[in-house]
């Protein structure tokens, strides 16, 4: 009996048969579509595929499956929505199963007094948001992947939403959680406003990328929902650096817009066309949320600071358009039209998000825009935008397209570009090569340089909590460690 047959037979003793997918076609159909998307468009099969997908329905089933896998050296990739972008869900060996908790998608409790909601890991973020909206609240968490992503995966990849500058990233929203460890032990981090009992254990799971635990339940903050009181404004600034300086001043003065975005001309021309820019101009826009008093004050300050930086105010229509169409990408990504475009043009499109202090971010942007078209001859498009800002710095979301020479080896060609960008970012003292997609099996190649002398702490976490190395091998922590 081969490993697949044995594993499936054993798992059927733990989980009802109808929740185990093991036929090749069904596995292919349930393959997370962001994984090796380019190669898939050409029909290249992955060198490795999962032994099966187990669609768990309860926390106890997760515990039973993990315990079995831990005892039998079966590797486990956990998933909920399946929208990961950094190959977190890529199977890299022949002894891996998918543990899919997408069916665990209930709202357990919404507590308006404490302003929190407790949900199962597989709840779709868009549905969760709609549910709390009906009650007059918002989760404040709106990543572009919201139509596809689930809360468990968003926590595991340390996600961020488009309104993060006001509400914070997922790390600011998560109050507590339940998770299952590789040996099947179920743990709970109780949701409390704050505690001073050693390091914050929530952070063991925020961004763990399934490398040592499976998040089953989360309690997150909710906020009053005042869409009618939202302030919006769009501006054209003379160049990208001027926009960065304006945003820095807004943040440094303590204002917290919800949406803070700054697009260079290339990004606008290629992907939006919403605003007509000349030469080096950049498009900057904001929204402010909260009660009317808060959003009015924030909006007035944004306007004053922007105008002081020589911006031209262009009203709200372009901002409204962005709000309405911002997640449209989820409708076409992985579609047959997308694949046909890949095949015919040979061009792969993607993004990479980096971050740095204010003193470094402008330099990183300029270096990247100047140097990468020189060193990457197959670059067909390159632009960028700022989308998440902080008191001490901001991110740049680089958008790129590459003409792939050899589709079967697309991942390696894409890595050449990613590595070249990482080289630039890591030249800067405050540059970080990953802002909110997670490390996955892509930027894991640079994780030691990213973390420097603190890398052994990450490696030790993996060894401590997943001593047999069954949880998502090669993700977040390089395999050899």
């Amino acid at each position: 009996m081969d490993l697949k047959e044995k594993t499936v037979n054993d798992l059927k003793k733990l989980i009802p048969e109808e929740y185990i997918i093991d036929s090749a076609d069904a596995l292919r159909a349930s393959d997370p579509y962001m994984v090796r998307m380019y190669e898939k468009a050409y029909g290249y099969e992955s060198p490795h595929s999962a032994l099966c997908t187990v669609k768990v329905q309860t926390e106890e089933q997760i515990a039973a499956v993990l315990k079995y896998c831990n005892e039998n050296d079966i590797h486990v990739i956990g998933r909920t929505g399946g929208s990961s972008s950094e190959n977190q869900l890529l199977v890299v060996d022949d002894r891996t199963i998918y543990l899919d908790a997408g069916d665990m998608n209930k709202v357990i409790k919404i507590n308006p007094e404490n302003m929190v909601a407790t949900v199962q890991c597989g709840i779709n973020m868009e549905e969760f948001e709609a549910k709390v909206n009906e009650l007059g609240y918002t989760t404040g968490h709106c990543p572009q992947s919201r139509p596809l992503a689930s809360i468990g995966g968003l926590i595991a990849t340390r996600s961020i939403g488009q309104f993060s500058t006001y509400y914070g990233g997922i790390e600011d929203l998560l109050c507590g959680l339940r998770a299952v460890m590789p040996d099947g032990e179920i743990i709970e981090i109780r949701p409390v406003p704050r505690r001073s009992a050693g390091p914050d254990l929530r952070h063991l799971f925020l961004g763990c990328e399934g490398a040592w635990g499976f998040i089953t339940e989360a309690t997150v903050k909710i906020f009053p929902y005042h869409p009618q009181d939202m302030w919006k404004g769009g501006y054209i600034v003379k160049d990208f650096q001027t926009g960065i300086r304006a945003i820095r001043e807004i943040m440094a003065q303590g204002y917290r817009p919800a949406v803070v975005r700054l697009y260079d001309k290339a990004d606008v021309d290629e992907n939006y066309g919403s605003v007509k820019l000349k030469d080096t101009e950049a498009f900057m826009f904001f929204s402010a949320e909260g009660s009317k008093a808060v959003s009015d004050v924030t909006g007035a300050a944004i306007h004053e600071i922007s105008m002081a930086h020589g911006a031209e105010y262009i009203g709200t229509a372009a901002v409204d358009h962005w709000f309405e169409t911002r997640n449209n990408i989820c409708k076409v990504i992985g579609s047959e039209v997308d694949y046909k475009r890949f095949r015919e043009t040979g061009v792969y499109n993607s993004t990479i998000e980096i971050c740095a202090n204010w003193s470094d971010i402008g330099g990183i942007y300029e270096d990247a825009i100047r140097e990468l078209p020189e060193v990457i001859p197959n670059l067909t498009f390159f632009g960028g935008h700022v989308s998440h800002s902080y008191m001490n710095g901001t991110n740049v979301y680089f958008v790129y397209s590459l003409k792939i020479d050899n589709p079967e080896n697309a991942t390696a060609e894409i890595m050449t570009f990613i590595n070249a960008l990482c080289d630039i970012v890591l030249r800067y003292a405050s540059g970080t090569i990953v802002h909110h997609h997670g490390v996955g099996k892509v930027r894991v190649q640079r994780i030691k340089e990213e973390l420097g002398s603190s890398f052994p702490l990450l490696a030790a976490l993996k060894k401590t909590y997943d001593p047999k190395g069954i949880m998502n091998p090669g993700c977040l922590v390089p395999k050899e460690d």
Partner: protein, 259 residues
């Protein structure tokens, strides 16, 4: 030297329009497109790519050719023009008109005929099957009439056969092929290759200062003969979710009153 002229139109990415864009159009009844991305009409994009493929086939026969892209379009986009230049078009002609010609295929055809001029006799002309807004699908046929040219519709590809370049056309009974002839208009539809190739940044940089041949026209837009006015001044628009869509389709199937 042979001349291949590919006619194209720059339009808007209607898939990117929002609910408010569809509802918030002007009195003409058209949606608001101020914030929509400019793109090539999808059939015209296929025609442009097939123009390049035809050029490559002609080159195999040792034939020197001039590949020209031609647009009659007030919606000019520098970004798209430079892309077309960078992928291998020898010449791009833009015919500007301030007139609204979306529903005037006769005028559009006359303007194209005027721009192709006397060269039309020895020219191979490629067009897409149709393009929004307007979508009349008539321009290629009227153009052929203006030029007194032959016409081959539903062309899916060009290919080499026994040293001759053939056009393959889809018909109700299957695919037919015939040698490509000068003076004909070929309408590209349902093509094997439908996306225009994408130049690298380096290739694009060579065309940083590229300028198309700009022409103006004295042709007047014709009276389309009908008056396009919206039935209501404000369009009601919703994008239904899956559940609502199924309900809507069910109602249609059951013949229920949809008001």
């Amino acid at each position: 030297m042979k001349t291949v002229v590919v006619c194209f139109k720059i339009t808007y990415d209607y898939d990117e329009l929002s609910v408010n864009d569809w509802s918030g159009g002007d009195a003409s009844g058209r949606p608001r497109t101020d914030f929509a991305r400019r793109i090539l009409g999808c059939f015209d994009e296929a025609a442009l790519e097939n123009g390049l493929l035809l050029k490559e086939l002609l080159a195999e026969t040792g034939e020197e050719i001039n590949l020209t892209a031609l647009t009659v379009n007030p919606g000019y986009s520098e970004h798209i023009i430079k892309r077309i230049a960078a992928v291998g078009y020898d010449r791009i002609i833009t015919v500007s008109t301030e007139q609204d010609i979306d529903f005037c295929p006769e005028s559009t055809a006359r303007m194209i005929a005027e721009a192709t001029g006397e060269a039309a006799d020895g020219t191979i002309i490629l067009t897409g099957a149709q393009c929004a807004p307007g979508n009349t699908g008539l321009v290629p046929y009227l153009l052929a009439e203006e030029l007194k040219a032959g016409i081959v519709c539903d062309v899916t590809r060009f290919f080499m056969h026994k040293g001759k370049i053939m056009a393959e056309a889809e018909t109700d009974t299957g695919y037919l092929a015939e040698p490509v002839r000068e003076g004909n208009v070929y309408i590209l539809n349902n093509t094997e290759k439908s996306f225009l190739r994408i130049p690298t940044l380096r290739e694009k940089m060579k065309f940083k200062d590229f300028e198309p041949v700009r022409m103006s026209t004295n042709q007047k837009a014709c009276d389309p003969g009908v008056s396009f006015r919206p039935a209501v001044t404000a369009r009601q628009c919703v994008f239904p979710d899956e559940k609502a869509l199924q309900k809507l389709l069910g109602s249609i199937r059951n013949g229920e009153n949809m008001t």
